[in-house]
């Protein structure tokens, strides 16, 4: 699955490893959890649900104007058309980056993230540096991610304070008019769907500004 060393000698375990192991054992022995279900949960997010889902949504929005309209009108239903539903994606909203507005998503209070389309959030998304600065200095945050927005471009930061989950639709890079969906999907990075990045510009393999 992820290649961690699963065969530590007990004495090598850190305090938190021991605590988590003890907790799992206790809850399992009490019959509250079923260990194979834990394996299934981990496997689902390691192999089945991730940013590839979101990239499919974005590419369809880029290539099918009617789908784009449905997505902007009712993202939960439009995303469900592609088979992505459920936990941490029950109430979806898609926000579209344009020539004049850049959208960026954060959860300052915890780590809310659209699991159905992006999988589990990366460590930096859950970290204090991102959560503290995204709402106050998003332009500075973007620069740290290597994105320099044109002066005066509106930045809208979406703080996920309720159960609405946001998916950013990045701008489609120029010169990709005749690309098929699979090729386009390769341009849609996870960060571009959070709004901390842009879709890859194939002309320079650089994100487009």
């Amino acid at each position: 699955m992820s290649g961690h060393d699963h065969d530590h000698d007990h004495s090598d375990l850190s305090e938190i490893e021991l605590r988590v192991r003890a907790l799992e054992t206790l809850l399992s022995e009490k019959g509250y959890i079923d260990p194979p279900a834990l394996d299934a949960l981990i496997e689902t997010y390691e192999t089945k649900i991730g940013p590839k889902n979101g990239a499919r949504v974005v590419v369809k929005a880029w290539t099918d104007p009617e789908y784009r309209d449905r997505l902007l009108n009712d993202a939960t239903a439009a995303i469900a058309e592609l088979g992505f539903t459920g936990r941490q994606g029950e109430h979806m909203v898609a926000v579209e980056n344009t020539g004049t507005t850049h959208n960026m998503v954060v959860c300052t209070l915890c780590s809310c993230y659209p699991w159905t389309v992006l999988g589990l959030p990366p460590v930096w998304y859950k970290s204090a540096p991102y959560r503290s600065r995204a709402v106050r200095d998003p332009r500075g945050v973007l620069e740290e991610f290597g994105v320099k927005l044109p002066e005066g471009k509106v930045i809208k930061v979406w703080d996920s304070t309720a159960e609405i989950r946001y998916l950013v639709i990045p701008e489609r890079p120029p010169g990709t008019g005749d690309w098929d969906e699979e090729r386009l999907a390769g341009l849609v990075t996870r960060d571009s769907m959070i709004g901390t990045g842009l879709a890859i510009d194939p002309r320079g393999k650089e994100p487009v500004a």
Partner: protein
């Protein structure tokens, strides 16, 4: 509550550390994640209660812990406060008293269906929404010790209702076994300058989803 979780606008945390993008960086993180989800599926507590358990960790502990460490510590608190495990059992790491009844136990074969179904939090509308799109609203000045989803940086601030989402479960009560008390939820947009003052980026706007009890007409 004004806990360490309420990070918006705080300073001094340094640069954002980009990482390899892996979901988990140790096996215990995988287990902490999965145990938390599986225990959530028992229905013993709400998602809001689990957020409150995490954010009520002492601030120094919250800020120095990795994210799955916060989850694990939050889960320890939840199982004890809900009477599923005793303090002594946690301490000794072994079963000392019989189990409590839980509503359901998540089985491997049900994982895909349960995840695909999710748990929607929209509820029927029993009364009309107080605010309409375009209304100017002021967020309340408040510092509750209970769970709330109105961040400190956005309190006592004026914004505009951009969308009326519908009626959603109210976390402030639902986190504390006081029922769902569904309330109208609004998408409210604030100008950066109305939140951060005149030094703010003039091209910044902030959008938060806020429940009716957080808002008054401006």
């Amino acid at each position: 509550m004004n806990g360490a979780q309420d990070l918006g606008g705080q300073m001094g945390f340094g640069p954002i550390e980009r990482d390899d993008g892996l979901n988990f960086h140790a096996r215990w993180e995988e287990r902490a994640f999965a145990v938390t989800l599986a225990m959530g599926a028992t229905g013993a507590w709400t998602l809001d209660a689990s957020r409150f358990a995490r954010e009520s960790l002492p601030p120094a502990e919250y800020l120095s812990a990795s994210y799955y460490e916060i989850w694990a510590k939050g889960l320890e608190k939840l199982v004890v406060t809900h009477g599923l495990v005793t303090d002594e059992e946690l301490k000794q790491g072994k079963v000392l008293v019989g189990p409590q009844q839980v509503k359901r136990v998540l089985k491997a074969e049900d994982v895909a269906d349960v995840l695909a179904k999710g748990a929607a939090v929209d509820r029927p509308e029993h009364q009309p929404a107080r605010y309409r799109v375009g209304d100017r609203v002021r967020t309340r000045r408040m510092h509750p010790e209970h769970h709330t989803r109105l961040p400190r940086y956005a309190r006592d601030a004026v914004g505009s209702v951009e969308v009326v989402h519908g009626v959603h479960v109210f976390p402030d009560s639902n986190a504390h076994r006081q029922g769902e008390r569904p309330a109208w939820l609004y998408g409210v947009t604030f100008k950066g300058r109305d939140i951060w003052g005149p030094d703010s980026d003039p091209a910044l706007s902030l959008r938060l989803d806020l429940w009716e009890p957080y808002l008054d007409l401006a």
